[in-house]
């Protein structure tokens, strides 16, 4: 379990939004590259080598494909490289394509990271904050779905070994699936009755239900959340005042370097690095204690 995933769900959510909002809405290469850098580093910390290897096999070709696609369809830009079917393929469109890919890849990677970090317990907690009933429903559904899947597999395998329906014919297979499906639905109703009994037996439905969670907001959670929000505010301040404005067409403009822009870059960089800082802080602390033993 990574150190970052031990943070409070709300802190994780704040971190997720603080990293994604600028990455998706601010068209500035510095922001986009920072986001990519942060996501790659974070992923390399929380995933093992094998998954990273298979991920590279996916994200690099995806990156190239997206980068190639843009200049084929967008012909804006003052520097034509060559003409294809009478349309210019321009340097600006190529650059724009590359940075779009940077943006999309980094967003995908962040989503992947946070998919690992925010597990179902955290999701249930986040929903339950506002709607306690919904959180119980979600939790029950998350229990029920794998049960239903297993039941489907068992029934369908039993029907297969009964040899009732020929497996060579598609219509028979569909028929079998329908039969199995309807029986699984019947089973799930039966199961729901038992679940309801079990809930009643443990006093569900009595007035004054409380909502327990294993998560506790610690001082570290609060500090990190505040840091996140402060950084996001500064980044957004830069964006809303137009200090981060960057354009690709018709010619690639210069990277804004006003003091506010630099401050925005830095604060976004901090946002992107918080996960890695949290992770490595724990690793360093651990090594330190080990060295003392």
């Amino acid at each position: 379990m990574s150190a970052y995933s031990k943070l409070h769900p709300l802190t994780c959510l704040v971190g997720y939004l603080c990293i994604l909002i600028p990455a998706m809405f601010i068209k500035n290469p510095v922001i986009q590259l920072t986001s990519l850098l942060g996501s790659v580093l974070f992923l390399s910390v929380i995933c093992d080598r094998k998954t990273i290897g298979s991920d590279l096999g996916f994200y690099i070709p995806l990156f190239v494909l997206m980068a190639v696609t843009n200049p084929l369809f967008s012909h804006n830009g003052a520097t034509p490289l060559f003409f294809m079917n009478g349309n210019p393929v321009t340097l600006e469109a190529v650059i724009y394509g590359i940075f779009m890919s940077v943006m999309i890849t980094s967003v995908l990677l962040w989503c992947k990271c946070y998919g690992i970090i925010i597990n179902s317990d955290k999701i249930v907690y986040l929903f339950g904050k506002s709607l306690p009933k919904l959180s119980l429903l979600l939790s029950a559904a998350l229990k029920f779905i794998p049960e239903l899947k297993r039941r489907f597999r068992l029934t369908s395998s039993a029907q297969k070994t009964l040899g009732q329906y020929s497996t060579e014919s598609y219509t028979d297979r569909i028929k079998r699936m329908c039969g199995v499906f309807s029986s699984v639905i019947g089973w799930s109703l039966e199961n729901a009755v038992e679940k309801n009994n079990s809930m009643k037996a443990r006093g569900y439905g009595m007035p004054g239900r409380s909502n327990y969670s294993i998560f506790k907001m610690t001082a570290a959670d609060k500090t990190i959340s505040v840091l996140y929000i402060a950084c996001l505010s500064l980044t957004l301040a830069g964006a809303f005042t137009g200090k981060l404005y960057f354009s690709y067409y018709p010619t690639v403009s210069g990277i804004p370097d006003s003091p506010l822009a630099l401050a925005s870059y830095f604060s976004y960089f901090v946002c992107a690095m918080i996960p890695i800082i949290v992770e490595s802080e724990e690793a360093i602390r651990w090594k330190y204690y080990r060295s003392k033993i």
Binding site: L136, K143, S210
Partner: protein, 556 residues
């Protein structure tokens, strides 16, 4: 102090004539361990649900149930939290997806603030040894862990009375006895009143303070377990009593016992009793007629199987051969891969190395489901999976129609088999409304419609009471006499000893030993029947209670 009083309790379900509980009177003392037993459908579950008010079935109720939970006198009601209830199926009573949430669920319903919940959940998790899987998903737990979780999430609410309705019927024997030990220690260490309904009497009998035996809605016996043994000698329920009791009752007329000699309940006491009274017969053996080698019909050679490339092998060089017209049992620990082995032999999974031959023909050469027509049938662990329609008879018809086309005389074929298995009266029932034993029979009947030569059974005795188990044994014997071959995977040692011609031990991905049951079980010291454990000093190869009684009587 009395904690529960049941006075003249009668209960009739709507639209039925005969009462499910009839004139029951019983009192339960604080801290008692009560075992409720009786054949399926005797009214055990009805009684237990009536005691737990929140689960009271709808119907016509007469009489009273009174609670005295706080020593302030009897009351008609008890709060949902004072009476805890653990159900039969480990899976379907779990409500939430996380272990910690499941533990906290009851406390949340009580409206307890978070800090208190944290403390009580933590305490319970430590006591039940849940801390290691506290953050796990409930779905990833084993059956035994699930049932422990269910017990813990009831106990966390601090109930005064704990009711358990066949809690171990879906568990394997080792997990089940661990579960029972946990319940027993709750009773001994915390003084919680326990009322438990079970078929597994071998272990519970010695633990119970009082036994309540029900039959047809009546409470026919309520008293100490030692007294129950003598009193119920002629009742069919006696079949399920511990081997020690059966051996004692079958042989006590041969001995001169002092007045008031207590019936032995445990293997230890039975061993003492046998050694004291029958040591003069020492060394007598059961004559074992070893079956003549017959033509092998299932041959599996060097099977290797794994579910995924990255997962370890479940089967490693497994070989087995089953002869024609024989009942072969595969025994082995939980999660060892026995079910997987059966799946591979049934052709539901493909081994990545090795092959299975049925009647000398490789499984992959059976084209177009011909393997499952007039050849091989497979009864999975949960016989409900066999049924997909709303009526037993509809399922039978669909099965026959799919197999033979419409031209066959479907009705008469179904009638013939239903009569043979004694399930004609169940034809119009919904499969979910059948009891365990009835469902098992109907499932076998559905398999019989395909007219198989070989039948594979996976844990056929799971959840069955002793009477149904005996019926299953005689059913399988009858089918074998008609030339069928059986391969049975089971945990149930007594059942395997009673029915198999040969037993095989499955361990570490393969079969490590196989022989006839008398030899198989008498060479095991721990993994063997309780009768054998009791008599091994005197009768080295007797494994069944009947064999022990027979040897004592000298008529084997």
């Amino acid at each position: 102090m009395e904690i529960l009083q049941i006075k003249d309790l009668s209960f009739t379900y709507p639209n039925t004539d005969s009462p499910a509980a009839d004139g029951i009177n019983m009192t339960v003392n604080q801290g008692e361990f009560i075992l409720v037993c009786g054949a399926s459908g005797c009214g055990k579950t009805t009684l237990l649900r009536l005691i737990k008010k929140e689960l009271s079935p709808a119907g016509n109720l007469k009489g009273e149930i009174l609670y005295n939970l706080d020593a302030k006198g009897f009351k008609e009601t008890a709060s949902a939290f004072d009476v805890g209830f653990v159900f039969q199926n480990p899976d379907s009573q779990i409500v939430t997806d996380s272990v910690w949430h499941e533990l906290a669920f009851g406390l949340e319903n009580m409206g307890i603030p978070s800090d208190t919940v944290r403390r009580r959940v933590g305490e319970m998790a430590s006591y039940f040894g849940i801390n290691e899987w506290y953050h796990s998903k409930t779905d990833s737990l084993s059956g035994g862990q699930k049932q422990i979780l269910n017990l813990a999430s009831v106990m966390v609410m601090d109930p005064k009375i704990l009711i358990l309705d066949e809690p171990t019927s879906q568990l394997d024997p080792i997990t089940a006895s661990e579960f029972i030990k946990t319940v027993y220690s709750l009773n001994r260490e915390f003084g919680i009143t326990v009322i438990i309904a079970e078929h597994r009497l071998e272990e519970l009998f010695p633990l119970a303070d009082r036994v309540a035996v029900m039959d047809g809605g009546n409470l026919i016996f309520y008293g100490s377990p030692e007294k129950a043994c003598g009193a119920l000698k002629d009742n069919p329920i006696f079949e399920g009593f511990p081997s020690a009791v059966k051996i004692f009752e079958g042989t006590k007329d041969l001995t001169e016992l002092p007045e008031g000699y207590q019936c032995p309940l445990t293997v230890r006491d039975c061993k003492k009793y046998l050694n004291a009274n029958f040591s003069h017969l020492s060394g007598k053996e059961v004559k074992v007629i070893s079956p003549e080698p017959a033509n092998p019909v299932i041959e599996a050679e060097n099977l290797y199987f794994r579910y995924d490339k990255n997962l370890p092998d479940i089967l490693r060089s497994m070989s087995i051969s089953v002869c024609e017209n024989e009942i072969m049992g595969i025994l082995g620990g939980n999660g060892a891969g026995k079910t997987t082995a059966l799946n591979v032999i049934a052709g539901a999974e493909m081994p990545y190395r090795g092959h299975v031959k049925i009647y000398g023909k490789k499984i992959k050469d059976f084209k177009n489901n011909s393997l499952y027509r007039n050849m091989l049938a497979y009864l999975p662990q949960d016989p409900q999976c066999i049924f997909v329609k709303n009526k037993v008879s509809e399922d039978f018809e669909a099965a026959l129609a799919a197999l033979n086309g419409k031209n066959q005389n479907i009705g008469s074929e179904i009638e013939r088999i239903s009569e043979e298995l004694g399930i004609s009266h169940l034809q119009n029932m919904h499969p979910y409304d059948l009891s365990g034993g009835e469902l098992q029979k109907c499932a076998v009947a559905k398999l019989m419609l395909t007219d198989p030569k070989i039948m594979l059974l996976d844990e056929p005795t799971k959840g069955l009471d002793a009477v149904s188990k005996n019926k299953l044994i005689s059913l399988l014997r009858k089918l074998r006499s008609k030339g069928m071959t059986f391969l049975i995977v089971t945990h149930d040692i007594e059942f395997a000893a009673g029915i198999c011609d040969r037993c095989a031990m499955f361990f570490d991905g393969g079969i490590i030993s196989q022989s006839a049951p008398n030899e198989f079980f008498s060479s095991n010291r721990f993994y063997t029947t309780s009768s054998h454990r009791a008599c091994r000093d005197i009768f080295p190869n007797a494994i069944l209670t009947d064999e022990v009684i027979g040897l004592c009587r000298g008529n084997v």
